[in-house]
């Protein structure tokens, strides 16, 4: 779902970036003055009718599940039956009842590390590749396609694929290291608590690197060449031009990439599940909020599993939605300062 969302937003925002510089703000076409205050006009009714199908589907499949999760979280459950209003007791359980009280914080910490790691590895490399590709003339399309290819594969498949490659017995990674005499580098990649999370970050970056690369590439194409020429005329070095001209103008793209990376990383489940199983092995070293939710909901013998897992889902939603909203505001303000 996250990938689908990312893909959709990639497609949408690409156009926006390309066409951005020099384009005036929202202007109305002459001859079509707005008609404020005339509610219930036939035109409005037509709009409503056209909106209705989409709105109904959205309500049915997005709003209703969200509201029902909130409702579930406020009740105590006996198996699949509600057994009385619980108030905030389920939320209390999350933070006071062992083992949830420890697992929630551990999972959150891993999500933060996963996000920071992804920003550093995936998005930095994505930006670098975008800049290099922007300058290169040959093979641009080909390389773009190659980098974006893992996008098309489900994270579950990517997870199992890398599990096989990182396998200590049959895997190609350790076999390669051993073949060239680098035995010391042949590690228990998925089994060492210190390596497991960095490995997951790298696999995740491998899959999604094409996404920031495309977005940054489109944004780079939208920066007029004159800016760079002017900077060069003023005697700026290549690094200075990038740091003082290109990077600030990439703020909108950086904002979008960061927010989407954040949302995707904090919802991550499938990749970690296929790499390390539902327990976030080894010994919980890769446990993230998504996995904890999965376990609390479906592998939890507690009769109140639905209540607890719904409370966790609501917390996750508030955290992700709230942070994404705040971050978007900050980035918008930074964009405004650019104008």
């Amino acid at each position: 779902m996250v990938q689908a969302r990312q893909r959709r937003l990639t497609a949408g925002s690409r156009g926006a970036f390309v066409g951005r510089p020099g384009k005036p703000g929202r202007s109305r076409r002459p001859g079509h003055p707005a008609r404020p205050g005339r509610l219930g006009t036939p035109r409005r009714r037509l709009l409503l009718a056209l909106l209705l199908p989409g709105l109904t589907l959205y309500t049915l499949f997005i709003v209703y599940p969200l509201v029902s999760a909130l409702q579930y979280s406020l009740f105590r459950w006996s198996g699949t039956r509600q057994s009385g209003f619980a108030g905030l007791a389920n939320f209390g359980d999350l933070f006071t009842r062992y083992p949830l009280s420890e697992q929630v914080w551990r999972a959150l910490e891993h999500n933060v590390l996963f996000f920071v790691g992804t920003m550093l590895v995936q998005n930095t490399a994505g930006l670098t590749f975008a800049v290099l590709l922007h300058r290169s003339r040959r093979g641009k399309r080909f390389l773009q396609t190659v980098f974006t290819l893992p996008h098309m594969v489900s994270p579950i498949v990517v997870g199992y694929l890398w599990s096989a490659m990182l396998n200590p017995q049959f895997g190609v990674v350790n076999a390669t290291f051993r073949a060239v005499g680098l035995d010391a580098l042949a590690q228990p990649w998925r089994g060492d608590p210190n390596l497991a999370l960095p490995v997951a970050i790298c696999v995740n970056a491998w899959q999604w690197i094409g996404f920031p690369m495309l977005l940054f590439g489109a944004a780079l194409a939208g920066i007029p060449e004159e800016y760079h020429e002017a900077a060069r005329c003023d005697g700026a070095s290549a690094w200075h031009t990038f740091r003082r001209v290109t990077l600030p103008l990439l703020t909108p793209a950086i904002g979008i990439v960061s927010v989407l990376t954040f949302v995707g990383n904090f919802n991550v489940l499938d990749l970690i599940y296929s790499l390390e199983g539902s327990q976030g092995n080894p010994a919980g070293a890769t446990d993230v909020l998504g996995l904890l939710f999965y376990r609390t909901a479906y592998q939890n013998p507690d009769a109140n599993a639905i209540g607890q897992s719904s409370a966790l889902a609501v917390c996750m939603f508030v955290l992700i939605f709230g942070t994404a909203l705040a971050a978007s505001r900050v980035f918008r303000r930074m964009e405004d300062r650019l104008k």
């Binding site: 006996s78 198996g79 699949t80 200590p168 010994a283």
Partner: protein, 427 residues
Amino acid sequence: MRRRGALFAALSVLAAVALPACAPSTDGGSGDDKVNLTVLSWRPEDTTGYQKIFAEYQKSHPNVRIDFKGIKATDYLAVLPNEVKKAQGGPDVVQLKPYGPIQSLIQGGDLVPLDGKVDVSGWPAETLDAAKGRQDGKLYGVPFALQTIQVLYNKKIFADQQINPPTTWEELVAACDKLKKAGITPMATSGLQPWVLAIAHQIFGATRYGAADFSAAAVSGKKTFTDPDYLASLEVVKQLQPYFPDDVTAVDYPDAQALFTSGKAAMYPGGSYELGPFEKTSPDLDIGFFEAPPAPGSKVDHPVTSGWVDGSYGISAKSPHQAEALELVKWMATKEFGQQFADQLRQISAVPGTTPSDPTLAQMLKNYQDHGVPYMMLVSFGYGNPLGRDVEGTALQKMLNGDASASEAGKEIQKGIRAWFKPGSGG
């Protein structure tokens, strides 16, 4: 006129999308007056076998048609609660995971109590416990399979290396050393999956901690998981680490299976449930088994076979065909079903008096009946969050990674179990 048209078009799009979702599912729709019973299972691989078993039943019960619906085992626990909630089109008879996971369905009122309705006289109490409500003590399912755990071995490798199945701990260690010297991984197991490690611990450590006596003492609260004997049993697994595959904590469950079936590893601490899949992947593999000899200092001086009930068949409270569903479940408690189950599916049936046709399984069952002990972490400590086997397996993982000592692991296990387990009450 055009506006109307647009409105109409919009509404018809909406109707086209929304209406199919509201349509009631028809019951079979085959037109005859047979009753369709849906049996929900987490073993899609058994579909052909069950079709044969149910064909027999349908001969004597011409008024029913049984539809066996398999759902992937890893999805089953997530799917089942929704299936039994369906007002229409849900399953009639469902496979139930034993011990802990069945409890929330019972408390939710999703299952029908079977006391007095099915004939389970003569069944061992510990078999029926797997399908009982922890709170009300009622029976909600007819157990169908038993699993036992022991050490499987590759007969060809043992013959080539001139090794006999060990009967003492010294022989086991000597066999492992010999295999290792010959470049063969002595034992394949998965250190990445906590539940596999917990099973390895039960196989090699049960005699060390005192098997059934210890689990009874732990249930009553007389002993805890920081008991020196229990800690020493954790240590037994750690001592075997040199004989596990290299980097065992990175070895996944399928990898461990592959190491054994490909002949790279000579032994495999595992369950009766592995035989079927192993035979499917490598039909030529000649598998034998032995019971792990007691480790030095063991509280029990003879080998034991640990086991548990793998699941049971219950009736969904929402089933519109209660009478027919009960008739089927009653039949599942008979020897006729039990024997067919054992023959067709190559498993150990839970029905007393049935014998698996497979000689290996038959011997495993005989050992279990003879000197069987419960798999403690599932049978007694599988009723709360965290599950006994998960918390034990995770602690063992830390030990194998060198991040925890046995006493630290014991403390962690005790802390996890005590989060939900009240001694004496049985949780």
